[in-house]
């Protein structure tokens, strides 16, 4: 029996207070019928004996409290799924947005999901070749990982994400299905992705969830959950390998802050709610692989760091949950280098199990560490050269300087359509390493130097 209440007593932003709600359950779905008969949906944030706080997903503008009715549906929010969702576009409430028919549902799933039992997880270790040297070579992505792109306003993160979506494959050639969730992005950005997906024929294997900047803010909170529910369905019920791209997580967090503020909660850092970490983890942790299931979920969330500040709560808390980060740098972008990946603070935590013999190549880990160490030193030398002038450098330091320049020009920089295989990336790496004399090569194995280095003479 559904209960309908006409006792909506308070409205503040997206929140409503319904009095006398009996038998209301926490987190259950609510339908609000406004005075003109239109339906808005919401969910219960607080269930008390004779009072329920309801968060409305759409705008509450123009709503008359006296003549509106709240109907408690007795179930938590679910999303209806079947293989037909591939190739479709939905909004943040899970309604079709592409003018197509309703999806014939095979299964309804709770959008909040359940935590994966760590005991049931399988450790991610299958190398994904993205065709981007800075990722494959230095910050290797593996299947089941969550690796965000930390970017800034105006940097080409969308371009990089779409390049990855186009090129990503597992060795052996298996391609990915894409679940794309856009929260609060502009129409142009959304169009960019849709047209790119269409051009490269990825669209037919993709599910898109789009909430534009002028769509209801609250739907930004449900959107990634619905998207991930779809991803879980495809991965764990349909055995697909799913790549989830979520953009822009910053907008998601802003929406969360908005709701928290209107609930008058005690704020944590910079006004974000104290549970931001927990909340983000319930999204990011839905990536992974499960024992005895074929599919997997790999996540690439994108977030723009406010004022390029990596210590801002959003990138900071994300970094603590995700397994590394790809950091885009304005400085490198301004040099005209694409993709402007700053490799030093970038990191993939799961790379070690995904590289080496049998996965990529035996020398990969050595090359990776050597390139990092050389480039770090090269950057230091570059700063030194700024102060002292290049002529004051020692001979070895001048080589380091050359290394840093060449590294950025040839290794980091690559074309939007350039799909480099891991072998090409490693060969390039050895070419660069060979700029320096052998006794500096402390991180690569002797036998690999003999086998791969360009300049074998000492």
């Amino acid at each position: 029996m559904l209960k309908i209440y006409k006792t909506i007593t308070e409205s503040a932003g997206p929140l409503l207070v319904v009095d006398g709600g009996e038998g209301v359950k926490y987190d259950e779905l609510v339908e609000i019928e406004t005075q003109d008969g239109s339906i808005k949906r919401g969910k219960v944030l607080e269930a008390a004996k004779n009072r329920a706080v309801v968060q409305v997903f759409e705008d509450t503008r123009g709503m008359n409290l006296k003549n509106s009715k709240a109907k408690f549906l007795g179930r938590t929010m679910k999303f209806g799924l079947s293989s037909d969702v591939l190739g479709r576009i939905f909004d943040g409430a899970g309604e079709p947005k592409d003018g197509g028919p309703e999806v014939i549902v095979e299964k309804y799933l709770d959008i909040n999901g359940s935590p994966i039992n760590p005991y049931a997880r399988e450790y991610p270790e299958d190398f994904i070749q993205t065709g981007v040297s800075t990722i494959d070579g230095l910050n290797t992505l593996v299947r089941g990982q969550k690796l965000p792109i930390f970017s800034g306003a105006g940097l080409p993160h969308s371009k990089l994400a779409s390049q990855i979506a186009r090129q990503a494959k597992v060795r052996g050639g298996e391609k990915f299905s894409i679940v794309f969730g856009a929260m609060g992005i502009t129409f142009e950005e959304a169009e960019f992705f849709i047209s790119e997906f269409r051009k490269t024929k990825v669209l037919s294997k993709s599910v898109l969830f789009i909430n534009l900047a002028d769509d209801p803010v609250i739907e930004r909170i449900t959107l990634p959950r619905i998207a991930l529910t779809a991803a879980e369905f495809l991965a764990f019920e349909k055995d697909m390998h799913v790549l989830v791209i979520l953009t822009d997580m910053t907008n998601y967090c802003e929406a969360l802050r908005e709701v928290s503020a209107s609930r008058k909660e005690v704020p944590g850092r910079r006004g974000y709610p104290g549970y931001l970490y927990t909340d983000l983890s319930t999204l990011y942790e839905r990536a992974g692989k499960i024992k005895n299931k074929k599919g997997s979920i790999t996540q690439i969330p994108i977030l723009t760091m406010p004022d390029d500040d990596i210590t801002h709560p959003i990138p900071d808390l994300s970094g603590y949950i995700t397994e590394g980060q790809i950091l885009l740098s304005r400085e490198i972008h301004n040099k005209g280098i694409y993709p402007p990946v700053d490799v030093l603070p970038s990191l993939s935590r799961l790379k070690d199990k995904g590289i080496g013999e049998g996965k990529t190549r035996e020398d990969h880990s050595g090359v990776l560490n050597q390139l990092f160490a050389f480039y770090a030193r090269g950057r230091e030398v570059r700063e030194l050269a700024l102060v002292l002038g290049e002529s004051a450098l020692t001979e070895v330091d001048r080589k380091y300087l050359k290394f840093a320049d060449e590294f950025e020009k040839r290794f980091v920089s690559q074309g939007y359509l350039e799909d480099r295989s891991i072998e090409e990336t490693l060969i390039l790496g050895w070419e660069l390493i060979s700029i320096l004399p052998k006794e500096e090569m402390k991180r690569v194995k002797e036998e690999h130097i003999a086998k791969y280095a360009k300049n074998k003479a000492d």
């Binding site: 259950e28 359940s114 970490y277 024992k291």
Partner: protein
């Protein structure tokens, strides 16, 4: 069982009424699904409950049941190689009951009640006993003797019955003191420290095989340490290395608000890693508590207490136990979240005002103890907590409160991590307050002059950082030859001693003896080099390519071949 009613639900906090006999910190079962919660505040009629599972779909009017028990862990044979969630439910049973995703309201017993253990008594009928006395032993895993102790709450003084050697389950009565029955397992509330006879000053070092830790910033057996680090600075790797290599008898690892995949890494890796001492899988001396970041927040709060209570139980047997908590910041955040929902007055950054006292109380459970029992055995509990300061800002409340009570500080530095210098422990900011207590121990175990070499190496590193400023301004050539030589040596210390590759088998663990030889070699090269400079020799001649290469290969010298060090000079 008394029954009350739910009045309000918001996230992990449930308010109930109609529970008159309720006690603080009592375990209750909430709602139709009987999900587990703990009473954290009583206000007149209202009882505030933090719930250890997801509360979606729970609403007012549903029943709440009292259990009369505080939140407790079950202690007995079968704990080792266990993998539990924050309230000691085995993850394996959870998977068997609800599949790959964790369901709700599932009960799972911590120890297997049917498994038979081979009990060997060490007391006989009529013996006088006190709490803590060892009644017998069980070989829980090969090489690990689980000691069955008289429980701390025992009142009887004389054994009226003890079972013969044989196979028993944890439910069987294996001894009686008067009329009191003693089984191989008992329960202990997680928020009460287990009693001991006396707390002692720690005087031995916990060897971890990590050069920067053992040589420069050692931690005592029974000491406390803190690893703060921004993300990506290798905090977790340091903890894992510690768990793998430290010479503790038992390791308790608490993944508190950790990444799911990282826990899985431990779960798959630990059974494969061999304990360097016994050659058996490391898992056989480990208990894992895994409460990943997306698992319910209240269970995260409980997880560190669950872990330390289990640790104390093994300590009571007279073992050296190392507890690693990664990360206590997540525990503090769980406190903050619950506190916010209780509408308590917030302190710094929204954390509750009792954060400091709770943190201190947790770390005080570490130490070197004279255990209960008539044989005066010693037990050690070393606690190392990781903190994850937001934005790497060490002035934040969790780090500050932790630093106030811990004695070792391993300052992880992301700029070192960017250079792939691991472990990324900054040698200038870190400290250990134990070097006085355990200096003697290091001299004895490492070699004579150990402390002296360490102090000299530290001096070189500190001088290096001062000289670097000058180099930045005027270039290397402006320095005196001696200073230039010092910079070369400092580089060797950094790259060939402090840098340690966790993924390279020979380098992953370095014994104290080898560490001694390594640091001794470097300092001797330095001191003889200084003399040669005075005699007018060039740096390039003293520190030629061949010698440099030899020194850089020092870390590859095998542990059973340490005399090779004599060949270096």
């Amino acid at each position: 069982m008394e029954k009350g009613k739910i009045k309000k639900v918001t996230g992990p906090l449930v308010v109930a009424e109609g529970l008159e006999d309720v006690k603080m910190y009592e375990v209750v079962k909430v709602g139709e699904d009987k999900i587990i919660g703990e009473v954290i505040r009583i206000q007149g009629e209202e009882v505030f409950i933090q719930v250890y599972e997801d509360t979606s779909g729970v609403g007012p009017g549903e029943p709440v049941f009292l259990t009369g028990q505080p939140l407790a862990v079950e202690l007995g044979p079968g704990l080792l190689s266990g993998i539990y969630d924050g309230i000691q439910r085995p993850l394996k049973s959870l998977m068997e009951k609800s599949g790959a995703f964790i369901g709700r309201g599932i009960e799972a017993r911590a120890l297997d009640p049917d498994k038979k253990w081979k009990f060997v008594p060490s007391k006989k009928e009529g013996d006088k006993i006190v709490p803590g006395d060892i009644l017998g032993t069980v070989e829980e895993t090969p090489n690990f003797l689980h000691k069955i102790m008289a429980p701390p709450y025992l009142k009887g003084e004389k054994l009226s019955f003890i079972a013969k050697a044989g196979n028993y389950t944890i439910e069987d009565v294996i001894a009686k003191a008067g009329e009191e029955e003693i089984k191989m397992s008992h329960k202990w509330p997680i928020r009460d420290p287990r009693p001991v006879k006396e707390k002692l000053i720690p005087s031995t070092a916990l060897i971890t095989g990590q050069r920067v830790i053992d040589t420069f910033f050692p931690v005592a057996k029974g000491g406390t340490g803190c690893v703060p680090g921004p993300f990506g600075s290798g905090k977790t790797v340091v903890q894992h290395q510690f768990a793998k290599w430290s010479d503790a008898d038992v390791i308790i690892f608490i993944g508190c608000g950790e990444r799911g995949n990282e826990m899985t890494d431990l779960l798959t890796e630990f059974p494969e890693i061999k304990d360097p001492k016994t050659g058996r899988p490391l898992m056989e001396r480990t208990v894992l508590i895994a409460n990943t970041s997306n698992m319910p927040v209240a269970a995260r709060e409980a997880s560190i207490y669950t872990g330390i209570t289990i640790a104390e139980y093994f300590r009571d047997m007279g073992y050296s136990v190392a507890l690693l908590a990664d990360s206590t910041s997540r525990w503090a955040e769980a406190l903050r979240e619950i506190s916010g929902r209780l509408e308590e007055m917030p302190g710094d950054e929204g954390y509750p005002a009792y954060l400091g006292s709770r943190t201190a109380a947790f770390y005080e459970r570490a130490g070197c103890f004279k255990c209960q029992g008539s044989d005066d055995r010693k037990g050690y509990l070393t606690v190392v907590g990781a903190v994850s300061p937001p934005g790497g800002d060490l002035s934040e409340p969790v780090t500050q409160n932790t630093l106030r009570v811990t004695k070792v500080f391993w300052a992880l530095d992301s700029s070192l991590a960017y250079k792939r210098h691991f472990p990324a422990i900054n040698w200038l900011n870190s400290y250990s307050l134990y070097d006085q207590n355990i200096g003697e121990f290091l001299e004895k175990e490492g070699g004579s002059g150990f402390n002296d070499y360490r102090a000299k190496a530290m001096g070189i590193l500190q001088k290096e950082s001062a000289l670097e400023e000058i180099v930045r301004l005027v270039g290397v050539d402006a320095l005196s030859l001696k200073d230039q030589f010092l910079l070369e040596i400092a580089k060797i210390i950094r790259e060939d001693f402090l840098h340690q590759n966790a993924f390279l088998d020979v380098d992953s663990f370095t014994s104290l003896k080898k560490q001694y030889f390594m640091i001794k070699t470097i300092i001797e090269i330095y001191e003889s080099g200084l003399k040669e400079i005075e005699q007018g020799k060039k740096i390039a001649d003293i520190l030629g390519r061949a010698l440099k290469e030899k020194v850089s290969k020092m870390k590859l010298v095998k542990e059973d071949n340490l005399e090779q060090f004599n060949l270096i000079k």
